[in-house]
Symmetry: C2
Subunit: 641 residues, 2 copies
């Protein structure tokens, strides 16, 4: 046993071939069948061809409500010489679906029958033999194949099978996939307070969802601690109840990562290390004639490894191949570097611009679950390339329907909660999806300059004039066709601990020597505002304890106050709320959205206008607090071009 093949960096196609061949040779991809009732079979896959057991109709059936007649009895009927038919002797009433008795060979629609008396029917058009009679087997002939093996059963198939007298069919049994979350620090959902280092277990639930999408039955196992024996037991138990085992996390080279070793000891290690980014620390093994898959801990890596390797295995366990993703040709919006040695998978957002699609690479952080949620598709930079250039033609495997992609507005820039409220209204009432990414105001300006976004949220103070945003656009986006619209005016304030124990009332208090401040990074809108306010109030930054300590987001400074590594910071009301801090307002600032007019059509622009004026948007934003909407929806500026 335990033929351990340790591979460090295997190209994907080679790895897939190796894995499939070894598992097939080891009989670890067995297809199993079960018989179920047809009405329970929606979405299931047939295990064998299904044949009609009865013909449909199984008797000559009336296709209409009317009377069954002998065609020859109606010969010559016309308006001038109507034919009179006698009940029993010449006709009988039939409803749709009723059998047409052997002595009759046609049906006349009730609309064409004129009853002279209860037992006498007058006919003025002769019947053609077999008119309105459905012959035996017209729909389905007994023994005829209705659907082949390995075919998905839909609502129409269910109707047809029942009609054909088929009450039960053999289908592929859903492969059972045991998913083992591992790690000492991971906790189950719903825990109110978490220590630093504790993380809610989510990968196993994400992979379980993917299993269901792929026709399998996920069996999520309890969390296994980072302990070799615990992991062994968990894998052994999982292999007993499932057709395949997936071990979440524990596949990199961290001190507590035993997965590959344990699989090698218990069974056969087939693959360890994939030449992809992300996804490198993938593991495939075999135990008791069952595939065992180890996926990395980072969500984006876990999803990728499960899609690249788990999906073909789960389909193979059903005798199927994974469906081809829809591929959309697009043009890359900006340069992307990549390593020569790996196939790199990059999540992108897509936007339709004129007749083509632009693909905007998302941040490549493997920990970003938000990237998975917001991604429109995936771009592959094949190994052997050092990267791609802006403008290169690329193929994107879509993650969502083209219809939704076509109705997506990209917002890359500074983020504000009000943008979320707006996005909610846009989706709910205009079926437009707002995909926003937080890169700060200056990041937004740069995204606009590179035409990588439809719009950007910005709040940039010109300290020379006290005016917002416009001078920045004039300076950095000269010549672009821009529209600057106010979304909200928001309060910036001092964020202090609940109850404000140090009695901080305004910016002047920052100079008190016992007070620990934490600052935002240079260039941040809030930092610019602080410096401006200090200057106008004549406060010397040198007096402020912690002025040099920088954090990179509203939330990071709020967190510093919340964790008591600082006493106060400047930020927006929403961050205060998020961490349960108290808020001392010191200034208002304009948060505008700057729209690249060339990229948004008039209908979408109108939807944006309507969403900003929507009473629900207004109520939610004002209800949250820290905002006023006096300028909301107003055009602050537009470019000449």
């Amino acid at each position: 046993m335990a033929r351990s093949v340790y591979i460090e960096n295997m190209p994907l196609d080679q790895a897939l071939t190796l894995v499939m061949n070894r598992l097939q040779a080891g009989d670890a991809l067995r297809i199993q069948e079960e018989e179920i009732e047809v009405q329970q079979a929606l979405g299931r896959i047939t295990a064998e061809p299904v044949r009609a057991r009865k013909s449909s109709p199984h008797y000559p059936a009336s296709a209409m409500d009317g009377i069954a007649v002998r065609a020859r009895d109606t010969r010559g009927a016309s308006e001038t010489s109507p034919v009179l038919l006698k009940r029993e002797q010449h006709f009988m009433e039939v409803d749709t679906g009723d059998p047409v008795p052997g002595e009759f060979d046609a049906v006349i629609m009730i609309e064409d029958v004129n009853y002279k008396d209860e037992d006498t029917a007058e006919i003025i058009v002769p019947a053609v033999p077999w008119q309105h009679v459905r012959s035996v087997g017209e729909d389905l002939i007994a023994s005829q194949m209705i659907i082949p093996a390995f075919f998905p059963v839909g609502p129409f198939e269910i109707g047809s099978l029942l009609t054909a007298g088929v009450a039960a069919i053999k289908v592929i049994r859903k492969p059972r996939i045991a998913i083992i979350p591992t790690g000492t620090e991971i906790v189950e959902p719903g825990q109110e307070t978490m220590q630093a280092g504790e993380v809610t277990e989510s990968n196993s639930r994400m992979l379980a969802g993917l299993c269901e999408r792929w026709g399998a039955l996920p069996l999520r196992q309890p969390i296994a601690r980072d302990d070799r024996e615990v992991l062994r037991d968990a894998i052994r138990q999982a292999a007993r109840q499932a057709d395949m085992v997936v071990v979440c996390s524990g596949s990199s080279a961290g001190r507590e990562d035993y997965t590959a070793e344990v699989i090698g000891e218990m069974g056969e290690l087939i693959l360890h290390g994939l030449a992809t980014r992300p996804g490198k620390p993938a593991i495939v093994g075999m135990l008791d004639q069952k595939p065992v898959l180890g996926v990395p801990g980072y969500p984006v890596s876990a999803a990728l490894v499960f899609e690249l390797i788990g999906q073909p295995l789960i389909y193979a366990l059903q005798g199927l191949k994974p469906p081809q993703p829809t591929v959309l040709p697009a043009r890359l919006a900006r340069k992307l570097a990549s390593s020569m040695g790996v196939d790199e998978f990059v999540h992108v957002n897509l936007a339709r611009v004129g007749t083509e699609y632009l693909a905007f690479p998302r941040n490549r952080g493997a920990g970003a679950t938000s990237s998975l949620v917001k991604s429109d598709g995936v771009l592959v930079i094949p190994r052997g390339l050092e990267g791609l250039q802006a403008g290169d033609r690329v193929n994107i495997s879509l993650n969502r329907s083209l219809e939704v992609v076509d109705r997506t507005i990209l917002a890359i820039g500074s983020h504000d909660l009000a943008l979320d409220y707006l996005g909610n209204i846009l989706w709910k009432k205009h079926h437009l999806r707002l995909a926003s990414t937080n890169v700060g105001s200056m990041g937004g300006i740069m995204a606009l300059k590179r035409k990588e976004t439809h719009l950007a949220g910005i709040h940039l103070l010109d300290t020379a004039t006290g005016e917002y945003n416009i001078s920045y656009l004039e300076r950095y986006l000269k010549g672009e066709n821009l529209l600057l619209v106010n979304l909200v005016t928001r309060e910036q304030g001092l964020m202090v601990k609940p109850g404000n124990p140090l009695g901080i009332r305004g910016l002047a208090d920052l100079a008190r020597p016992e007070i620990r401040f934490v600052n935002r990074q240079k260039g941040a809108g809030t930092r610019i505002l602080l410096d401006y306010l200090l200057k106008t109030k004549g406060i010397d930054p040198g007096q402020i304890n912690g002025y040099e300590r920088e954090e990179f987001s509203h939330l990071a400074v709020a967190a510093a106050v919340s964790n008591d590594t600082a006493d106060v910071s400047l930020g927006i009301y929403a961050s205060c709320q998020a961490l349960g801090l108290e808020f001392v307002p010191v200034a208002s600032e304009r948060y505008d959205i700057c729209i690249l007019r060339d990229l948004l059509d008039e209908d979408t622009l109108e939807a944006l206008r309507q969403a900003m004026a929507d009473p629900e948007f207004v109520a939610e934003t004002l209800g949250f607090g820290g905002y006023n909407l006096d300028l909301s929806g107003q055009v602050m500026w537009r470019s000449d071009s």
Copy 2:
């Protein structure tokens, strides 16, 4: 109450507007919510925007396995002047995901650390502040919207929500749809013997499947007899437990059709009669602030009415609009007549020919469940048009993925079981779908002539030569690029009752006066064969009792024998088998497939060849009996062109 609006023939758009407005005014389209665990939410629709409850990460986290350090302690490190760091004082080990304590501000990857002794780490590259440290909220910021209201929850959303500390969410409660099958003659599935007139209930199961596809929970009710009081009780009970009631069948003007009246008496009848074909006898009403829908009994009509009216209602109950079907531009293969007064919905098959798709209308019988199963899409002929011409550009709403459509082979002609076996192999091993329609051999020749099919199964005897098929192709398909390949040689024989009580041994027995024969229609391959055999054997058709009685299929004549309205008929072994008759072989005939070479590419042709040679095809066909495969796969003839 009971404001009864009887409408006979209302155009679809007008009907939809009326129905939606009345139901909305009557508050019958209420959206209901429920709170469920996130891990149970796959495929569900959010009822409100979902916001992050915790940031992710919620603490500064190591992005790598390595050591946490202070960047300033590593300043100036290089190969020539390495920096030595002391455990506790200068560094601590961290794994991916571990918190980076406040006193440190960077992580160095374990690969870049050289341990001099257990407590001393040597560094030769300085760390940049915050390198390999994931800041608080890098992925998700507490209070940030993750997904808006009315958004579908997929595997990635589940991962992201759990990561953001969201354990439960409010989703749209699945609308409960009570489906009442009605009719005295319908029976539940699984009944072995059925009387003429009895039909297996299948529509409610088909509609239940559609409900599930559309996000609803079907509640299938017991069969209600055709009785006014029974129907009333069934509707009342259904309305109590469901958000919408669907009554199957009972919506035309048959004697037992009370549905519209009963709905009008119990509540409000909103619509009765839709200007569509099929689907005319659609009913919509309202009862206890709930929609009640009546659908016709024919499966194709039932499916259409449920898609046209049921689907928008079920989506509205979830606050959604139905997804737009994928529309494929195609060219109509043959002329289609239609009534001016109705929107006509025609199921079509599609085949890719060069760069365009041809749409082949299927038989328009509303009773054909096989049409629903085999349909690739639906064509609408709008009211106001008398029809469409062959070659017209049309838009087809697809019923299946374009990928499958692109891999479909159409076979229109005479049907044989062996074609089913072939179709099974083609799907299973070549992922090619064989969509076959039975129109007889001459029908197949005509379909080839109109280029409406890729291939046709034919078995046409030239009575002058005793040869099969070729002379017909030369006569009717002159100038076409054809390939004639044998599929099977099959036995034709006399079909007699089990045990052969009349001792029928051959064609000569047909002349016995006590024996009742039933014939096939003129032009049928089997009829041609019979006449040929009678002539060669010198038997006078005039002597055969029942020679004039014609049925239109193998199965119809077999059914006549089985039902004892005849004693014997000529047909193929498979029909005998289907109805449990006994078989007396009298001749062999060639069943060939004639392929239109211009419409099939070389790969598909090769797949056909392989499938015919496949051991599984051979075993299944021979195993069934009545076939020999001596010529199978051989080219019988090819055209000069």
